[in-house]
Amino acid sequence: MAEPKGVMILGESVQGNLAAISGELLGCGRQLADTLKEELICILVGNQLGDAPKNTIAAGADKVYTVEDAMLADYQTDSYLMVMEKVIKDISPRILLMGQTSIGRDLAPRLAFRLGVGLAMDTVELSIDPQAKLLQETRPVYGGNARAIFVSEAFPQIATVRSKAMSPLAPDTSKQGEVIPLKVELDVAKIRTKVLETVKEELAGIKLEDAQAIICGGRGIGSPEGFKQLEELAKVLKGAVGASRPPCDNGWVPDTMQIGLTGKIVAPELYIAVGVSGSSQHLAGCSGSKNVVAINKDAEANIFKEARFGVVGDWKQVLPAFSEKVKELLAG
């Protein structure tokens, strides 16, 4: 392999649009590349990438490699692994970043093992040690109660990055960059999985990850009916309703509404936690929120440590008055 050089990110795109996480990776990768005075490279894998390469350059990349093949339309472990192993060996980047997404979670460990290098998953902070020029990878450990910084001395240094942990750059359509198509021979016999069908399960209304206001219900809500009140408030605030783990485990709401370490990771402007105690696993999914508001009858609840505003009281009495006043203020 050549001398390791450059910061590479694996971009994910849907119909030519870059996924939010990829924009965040490019924002973070740009800083790392600038510190190293090296290039920011993006690799895009798929079929009919459309405008994705152009969007990638606008989002910060200096160089974009594309691998297009009808067989790469859907993510499959074996085919993407073949592509990434070949590309990494040919291009030899210093650093490789992927999103902590269903693709990154699956691909990163396999790729790191194939290449015989280390991997840090679910990182929330990345920086360069200026002397050794090595990537320092910070990630939550012990269910989010502590953080650990790791370093790996084999190249590429691979990390997956948690969504919403990094900020994307404002798109700059005047930015110049190079798009280089690559051809990778796929050995069909080695692809052991086949995607038969992709089923979308969209929740009605605003997507949790995109919502600027989230009303989150916890164990304290007590029933599926309780969540109806949260939905009404969400409608007024043009936001979405989420839940901590107990309401999902109890079947009050679908699992797709779960916010936390094992659910969705959100970072809205306003996060209203109702009847949520604030376990570290839950906070892992919402601690990026700009303003946390907590309503809980237990004054000692951990959520108050995370909150900017709080009310200690039974939500059943607090919330109706709160919602009423919000409606009134918005109308006036």
Binding site: E306, F309, V311, V326
Partner: protein, 119 residues
């Protein structure tokens, strides 16, 4: 991450959870499948099962039995070095809205959020 697994004609049919839904994937066996709590409830062990388990002898493998060198595993085989382990400091300055009744606190909270331009 699977939420449903079925074996059909010697192949596993897996429903794999993705961000906005799921994919139905067919995979040849043997296959490694990770699962989450969506797959189903854990069963309670039956008395018969507990009795049967007591008689079973677990098989214990040493690294050499599965063909790996001691240097490849454990602390010696670790590729990532831990530089620092720490607990992030929380600022913790929550403004608790006090009022005579919970309903009044709710009203005051709404006013306070509006003043802070949060909605």
């Amino acid at each position: 991450m699977a939420k449903k697994v079925e074996v059909v004609d010697g192949k596993a049919k897996v429903e794999r959870v993705i961000a906005d839904g799921y994919q139905i994937i067919e995979v040849t066996m043997p296959a490694l499948i990770t699962v989450s709590n969506e797959l189903g409830e854990a069963r309670y062990a039956t008395l018969k099962g507990i009795m049967a388990a007591a008689k079973k002898q677990p098989v214990i493998w040493k690294p050499a039995d599965i063909g790996v060198e001691p240097g490849q595993i454990g602390a010696a085989g670790r590729k990532n070095k831990l530089l620092k382990l720490f607990q992030p400091v929380k600022e913790g300055k929550c403004e608790i809205i006090e009022a005579d009744s919970p309903a009044e606190a709710g009203t005051k909270l709404a006013q306070r959020l509006r003043e802070s331009k949060l909605f």
